[in-house]
C-alpha cells in the first residue's frame, strides 16, 4: 500500500495503477525467445518494474521497487 511515485501526478494510491512487473519486453529473433516469454528473475531486492497509471495520466512508468520491503527506490 505504499504510494506510487508518478512523475506526472505525484505520489498516488497503488489502486490507481496496474503493475505489469518485469514484462520481458518484445522478443525479436529466435534466440532468447523462451527467456523473454517465461524467464523471470523474481529477485529479492531492487527490481525494475513497469507500472501503468490507469486511473491517472495513463503513463507507463519504469520504477525500481525493493521486492523485500515494497519500497520504491530511485
Amino acid at each position: 500500500m505504499r504510494l506510487v511515485p508518478c512523475p506526472d501526478c505525484g505520489p498516488r494510491e497503488p489502486g490507481e495503477f496496474v503493475c505489469l512487473g518485469d514484462s520481458g519486453g518484445h522478443p525479436v529473433g529466435e534466440d532468447g525467445l523462451a527467456e523473454a516469454l517465461y524467464g523471470r528473475a523474481n529477485a529479492k531486492g531492487p527490481v525494475e518494474e513497469l507500472w501503468w497509471h490507469k486511473f491517472g495520466c495513463r503513463r507507463w512508468l519504469k520504477l525500481r521497487r525493493n521486492s523485500a520491503t515494497n519500497e520504491f527506490v530511485p
Binding site: 500500500m1 505504499r2 519486453g25 518484445h26 529473433g29 529466435e30 525467445l33 501503468w52 503513463r59 507507463w60
Partner: protein, 966 residues
C-alpha cells in the same frame, strides 16, 4: 460470581435493556458486560465448540467469550454500550446462555480432540464431510447477522506527520515529545477517555498529579495545540508506507467512521493485555482476568463478585489486587506459584487485608459458576479457597500486532516470556508496554524517546521539555511460574477460550507431528477465533516449545494479519447497494429493464439484456423467437459495451501493423478488416474489426471483456515498445453507443428510419451517415452472419435512435435481441468468442483463423512465438464443430471429448446450443488435432454416461457467408 454495583444507579442515568429475554437496569453508556455483571449474571455465553457455559473474562476488545447479537450486528458484550432499548442476546446458544440445548456437547468433549472434524469426516475413505458440513457449520456458528442491511459507515482520509496509536502513558508521552504547534499530529485511542491503564490505578502519580488527571490534562493541552485526538477509535491495520486503517465508534459502540490515515511517522503505543493462567476448568464463569475485574470496578463502579481470589505469578498483579481491594471489592487471597514473592509487595497486600499464599499452584475450580479454587502447595498439600471470582494474572501479552502487520520482526524476551518488536519498522516506533517496558517510569521514558524519533523522522521539531516522571507503578508484570498444567481427568485446561482449544489439544497436535506453529494453529484452530489468539497465543507457543524441547523464541509466532479487532464487513464495504464494484450501464440499459429483459452482468461489468421474455415465456421460447427474428426478418441489439478506440497520427498504420497480427496498413479509408491481437507467446489475445476512417485515422473495435486490457496494451506498445511512432490512442468505448440492426430486412428498416446508406456499401464497409440530424457512422458488420449494420452514434443519442428504429422496424417484425440469442447465432456461424474458444491457450491457427494472420509482416506482437508454433503443429487443440448423434440432445458445455470410450480426454465442448434455424443441436469443441478427425465419431463423457457425436467443420449455417455479404 455474584456481581453488584459499588456505586448505586441514579434514576437520571438508568436505562432499561434486554438481554436473552431478561429486562435489566443499566447505567447509560456503560459496557453491556458491566451491566450483566452488575445484575449478577455469571453465565453470559456458550463456548464455540463444546458449548461450555462461559462468563466475562476480559475488558474492551480483550474479551474471548461474550459475543452477543444486537440489531446492529454481532459484537462483544464488552464493547456494546448500554442505552435505552438495547436488545441483545448471547450468540452461540439456544434458547439462552444459561440453558443451552447443545450443552450436551461438553459431555462428549473427550471424543472431540484436536483435528476431530478432519479425522472423523475427511479422513481416508471418509466421504462424510459434504453430508455433515452444513450441520457442523450450523452448530459452530458465532451468531446470526441481523436481517436488515447495515447502516452506512462513512470513510474518511487523513494525512499527518506523526500518528500516535494509543493514548495511555506511553502514547501521551510520545505525543507530547513532538512540538505539536508546528506539526500535524493524530492521537487515537480505543477507550472512551485517554489514559489507558492509568485509568485503573488511582494510586499512580505522574509529575506530581493523579495519573488519571495527568492523562486528561495532557490530552486536553494536546488538543488545544491542534493535535487531533480521536477517542473510541481502534487502529485495525497497518500497511506498507505508513498507512493505518482505524475504526471509530459512536458513543453507543456502533461503527461510526472508517479512517484511512497516511502518516510520515507512527508511534505504536498499543499497550499489553493480561494473560490468563492455564489450569483445569480455568474457563468457568467467574474465572476472569485480574485487570478486567479492576477496570470494571474503577471505571464503571461494578464489583465482579463478593469474594475474589487472585491467582497471579507476577509482581504487577499485587498492585492490581491492592487497587481492586481499594476500589471496594473484597479481595481475600493472592495465590502465587512463585516461591518467594517480593516481600514489600506482600506486605502491601497484607495491609490491604489480602492474605498471600506463596508457592501455591491452582489445580482446578470448584463449581460452575465458580464457588472456589483448588490449590496445591509446594509441599504437595492441597487446599481449597472459597470464592466466587478467580482473578487470573499470568503476565502480559504485548500487543505487537500493528508492528507485525506490515512485516516488522519480533524477538522473544525470556523475562517477559513474550515477543516484542525487534526495533522500529517502516517508520513505526513501538513504545511502552507493547515494546516490553514494564514499570510506569520506563513506559513514560520509552514513549518520550519514540515520540522524539518519530518527530525527527517526519521532519518535525522536537519538544524540549523533560519527559514526565512517575511515582509508583514500579512492579513488573514479568511472570515467574511454569504455568502449563495438563488437563486432569478430563477437566479441561483452556489455552484459547474463543476457539475452545485446551493444552492437551496442543500437546496432542505436537505429538501427531504438527510441529510448525503455523500448522499447529490450523490443525487445532488455536488463535483462529474472534480474538485471533490474543489471550492464548503465547501459552500455545510455550506448549509447543515444551513439546519440542526448544526455546519459545525458536518456535516463533504465527503471522499477524489485519484486522486487529473484528470489523463488520459493512464498515469496509462500499455502500451503494449490494455490490462492491458498481455495474456499468449503457444509455440503453434503462430501456432494456423497462422492456422486461432478464438482465445479466457480463463482460467488464456491463449490465446487459440476456433475453426479452414475453408473457408466459420460458427462456428457451424467448431465445428461439429472437433467433428466428434475426434469421427471417430483423433483429436489433445493444452492442454499446464493445471496446472502441480512435487511433490517430501519421504512424497510425505502422502502429496497428505492429499491435495486430493482421495487416491493417493496406486498408482503404472506409473499409474494415477482421483482425487479431496475439500475446507475445503467440496465443490469441483479442479479436475485433478495425476500420480505417482516414489515412491517418483508424476506428478500432475490441471485445467487450478485453476493452480495458486492450487500452493498456495499446498504450504499452505505444509508450514502451514503439515510442518512436507518432500516434495517439483514445478510448471512446463509452462515448459511442452501438446499435446493431441485422437480418434479411435490416436494409429496409434503416431506409424506413430515413437513414440513407451509400449506393455502394460492401461488407465490412464504414460510412459516415446522417441519422435524425446526427452524424453517425454505420458499419456493415456484425456477429450473427446475417446482413447486418452497426450504427455507432453518440451515447446520449442512443435512446431516441433505438426507439425510432424499433418503431420503423415494426412493419418488418423487428425484435430486440439479447445476449442469449447472440450466443446461439454465433455458434450457428462457428464464430469464436474470446473467453470461450480463445482461452489463452489457443493460437490463431488452432482456431482456424490463419487467414487473419499476416506473418509476412516484418514484426508484430507475438510473431516470433507464432513462427515457432508453426514449426511443430501437431498435438494442438483445434476448433471443430460437433453434431450430437441424437439431434435433440444439447451437449453440456464443458463435456470432455474422447476419441472412443476408454480413451483419454482429447478436448472439451466450448459452446453448445439448440439451433432453431437448423432444427437440431449444435456444439463447438476444442479437440487435440481435431481437424484431422473431421467426419469421424467421438465420445463425450457426461455426468451420467456418454454421448456420441460427429466431428464437422465449425460452421453450420451458411458456411460460405453469402447472407452477411449479400
Amino acid at each position: 460470581m455474584s456481581g453488584y454495583r459499588l456505586l448505586p444507579l441514579v434514576p437520571d442515568d438508568t436505562v432499561e435493556i434486554d438481554f436473552d429475554g431478561m429486562r435489566l437496569s443499566a447505567r447509560r453508556g456503560e459496557p453491556l458486560a458491566a451491566s450483566l455483571i452488575a445484575n449478577g449474571l455469571s453465565t453470559v455465553a456458550r463456548s464455540f465448540k463444546y458449548h461450555r457455559p462461559r462468563g466475562i473474562v476480559g475488558f474492551g476488545s480483550w474479551e474471548p467469550n461474550a459475543v452477543v447479537e444486537t440489531p446492529d450486528g454481532i459484537e462483544l458484550a464488552t464493547n456494546v454500550r448500554a442505552f435505552d432499548g438495547l436488545n441483545a442476546r448471547a450468540a452461540n446458544c439456544w434458547p439462552s446462555a444459561r440453558f443451552d440445548a447443545k450443552s450436551f456437547l461438553g459431555t462428549f468433549s473427550a471424543l472431540m480432540p484436536a483435528g476431530f472434524y478432519y479425522k472423523t469426516f475427511r479422513g481416508p475413505g471418509g466421504r462424510l464431510w459434504p453430508l455433515f458440513e452444513p450441520m457442523i457449520r450450523k452448530a459452530a456458528g458465532i451468531g446470526r447477522l441481523p436481517d436488515r442491511p447495515a447502516a452506512e459507515t462513512p470513510k474518511r482520509n487523513a494525512h499527518c506527520d506523526v500518528l500516535v496509536i494509543g493514548a495511555g502513558a506511553a502514547g501521551l508521552a510520545a505525543a507530547r515529545a513532538v512540538a505539536s504547534n508546528a506539526s500535524r499530529i493524530i492521537l487515537l485511542d480505543e477507550g472512551e477517555a485517554p489514559g489507558g491503564r492509568l485509568l485503573d490505578r488511582p494510586d499512580l502519580r505522574i509529575d506530581g498529579v493523579d495519573g488519571r488527571e495527568w492523562a486528561r490534562l495532557c490530552a486536553k493541552s494536546l488538543a488545544a495545540n491542534g493535535v487531533r485526538v480521536l477517542a473510541r477509535t481502534t487502529a485495525i491495520g497497518r500497511y506498507d508506507g505508513g498507512l493505518v486503517v482505524a475504526l471509530e465508534r459512536s458513543p453507543e459502540g456502533r461503527p461510526a467512521r472508517l479512517w484511512k490515515i497516511r502518516a510520515k511517522s507512527i508511534v505504536l503505543a498499543t499497550g499489553a493485555i493480561e494473560r490468563p493462567l492455564v489450569f483445569p476448568d480455568n474457563d468457568r464463569p467467574g474465572a476472569m482476568l485480574l485487570t478486567a475485574a479492576l477496570a470494571f470496578a474503577v471505571r464503571h463502579g461494578v464489583a465482579v463478585g463478593r469474594e475474589v481470589v487472585a491467582v497471579a505469578d507476577n509482581d504487577a498483579a499485587y498492585d492490581d489486587a491492592v487497587a481492586l481491594a481499594m476500589a471496594g471489592v473484597a479481595v481475600r487471597h493472592i495465590v502465587d506459584p512463585r516461591v518467594v514473592p517480593d516481600p514489600e509487595l506482600v506486605a502491601k497486600a497484607r495491609a490491604a487485608g489480602i492474605e498471600c499464599h506463596a508457592e501455591f499452584t491452582p489445580t482446578g475450580i470448584v463449581g460452575s459458576p465458580v464457588r472456589g479454587v483448588r490449590l496445591v502447595g509446594g509441599d504437595s498439600r492441597s487446599r481449597t479457597l472459597d470464592c466466587d471470582v478467580v482473578a487470573m494474572s499470568g503476565g502480559t501479552t504485548p500487543l505487537v500486532h500493528l508492528h507485525s502487520h506490515s512485516g516488522g520482526r519480533l524477538r522473544h524476551v525470556g523475562k517477559l516470556r513474550a515477543f516484542v518488536p525487534d526495533g522500529p519498522h517502516d517508520g513505526a516506533w513501538s513504545a511502552g508496554a507493547c515494546n516490553g517496558a514494564a514499570s510506569l517510569d520506563e513506559v513514560l521514558r520509552d514513549g518520550s524517546a519514540a515520540g522524539r524519533e518519530a518527530a525527527r523522522a517526519a521532519g518535525c521539531r522536537v519538544d524540549s521539555t523533560a519527559p514526565p516522571r512517575a511515582e509508583g507503578g514500579d512492579a513488573r508484570a514479568e511472570p515467574g511460574s511454569e504455568p502449563l498444567a495438563a488437563d486432569v481427568a478430563h477437566r479441561k485446561a483452556f489455552v484459547d477460550f474463543a476457539a475452545d482449544v485446551t493444552i492437551d489439544d496442543l500437546r496432542l497436535a505436537a505429538r501427531e507431528g504438527y510441529e510448525s506453529v503455523e500448522l499447529l494453529k490450523r490443525y487445532t484452530t488455536t488463535g483462529m477465533a474472534i480474538d485471533q489468539g490474543r489471550m492464548g497465543n503465547l501459552a500455545a507457543i510455550e506448549a509447543l516449545a515444551q513439546a519440542k524441547r526448544v526455546a519459545p523464541g525458536l518456535v516463533g509466532t504465527t503471522t499477524y494479519r489485519p484486522p486487529f479487532v473484528p470489523v463488520p464487513f459493512s464498515t469496509i464495504a462500499d455502500t451503494n447497494g449490494t455490490l462492491l464494484r458498481p455495474s456499468r450501464a449503457t444509455t440503453l440499459t434503462a430501456w432494456h429493464e423497462a422492456a422486461g429483459a432478464v438482465m445479466y452482468e457480463a463482460g467488464a461489468h456491463w449490465r446487459r439484456p440476456g433475453y426479452y421474455p414475453q408473457a408466459g415465456d420460458t427462456m428457451e421460447a424467448a431465445v428461439r423467437r429472437e433467433c428466428r427474428a434475426v434469421r427471417q426478418m430483423a433483429g436489433m441489439y445493444d452492442s454499446s459495451p464493445l471496446g472502441k478506440f480512435e487511433v490517430v497520427g501519421p504512424d497510425a498504420a505502422t502502429f496497428l501493423d505492429f499491435v495486430y497480427a493482421t495487416r491493417l496498413s493496406d486498408l482503404a479509408p472506409g473499409r474494415g478488416r477482421y483482425a487479431l491481437q496475439l500475446h507475445e507467446d503467440g496465443r490469441l489475445f483479442d479479436d475485433g474489426i478495425v476500420f480505417r476512417t482516414a489515412m491517418d485515422r483508424y476506428f478500432v473495435t475490441t471485445t467487450t471483456g478485453n476493452a480495458d486490457a486492450c487500452h493498456q496494451r495499446f498504450e504499452y506498445c505505444r509508450q514502451i515498445l514503439r515510442p518512436e511512432l507518432r500516434v495517439g490512442v483514445l478510448n471512446v468505448t463509452e462515448q459511442w453507443a452501438d446499435i446493431v440492426v441485422c437480418g434479411p430486412r435490416a436494409r429496409a428498416v434503416l431506409a424506413d428510419t430515413g437513414l440513407s446508406l451509400p449506393e455502394r456499401f460492401p461488407f465490412l464497409g464504414l460510412a459516415a451517415c446522417s441519422f435524425a440530424g446526427l452524424p453517425v457512422q454505420v458499419a456493415r458488420a456484425g456477429f450473427t452472419g446475417e446482413l447486418s449494420f452497426e450504427i455507432f452514434l453518440p451515447a446520449s443519442a442512443a435512446p431516441q435512435a433505438w426507439r425510432d428504429l424499433l418503431e420503423a422496424g415494426r412493419r418488418h417484425a423487428i425484435a430486440p435481441v439479447g445476449s442469449e440469442a447472440n450466443h446461439v447465432l454465433r455458434i450457428e456461424k462457428g464464430f469464436i468468442s474470446v473467453g470461450h474458444e480463445a482461452d489463452g491457450i489457443c493460437g490463431p491457427d488452432d482456431l482456424g483463423l490463419s487467414f487473419a494472420v499476416h506473418a509476412d509482416k516484418p514484426d508484430f506482437v507475438g510473431r516470433q512465438a507464432l513462427l515457432r508454433d508453426r514449426a511443430s503443429p501437431s498435438g494442438r487443440p483445434q476448433l471443430v464443430g460437433l453434431m450430437a448423434r441424437d439431434p435433440q440432445f444439447v451437449l453440456p458445455e464443458g463435456s470432455a471429448v474422447l476419441r472412443a470410450q476408454g480413451d483419454r480426454t482429447r478436448g472439451f465442448v466450448t459452446a453448445s446450443c439448440w439451433s432453431d434455424a437448423l432444427g437440431r443441436s449444435l456444439a463447438m469443441a476444442l479437440i487435440e488435432d481435431g481437424r484431422s478427425l473431421t467426419g469421424s465419431d467421438v465420445t463425450l463423457a457426461l455426468a451420467d454416461g456418454t454421448a456420441g457425436a460427429q466431428v464437422v467443420p465449425p460452421s453450420f449455417y451458411d458456411p460460405k457467408g453469402e447472407r452477411q455479404r449479400g
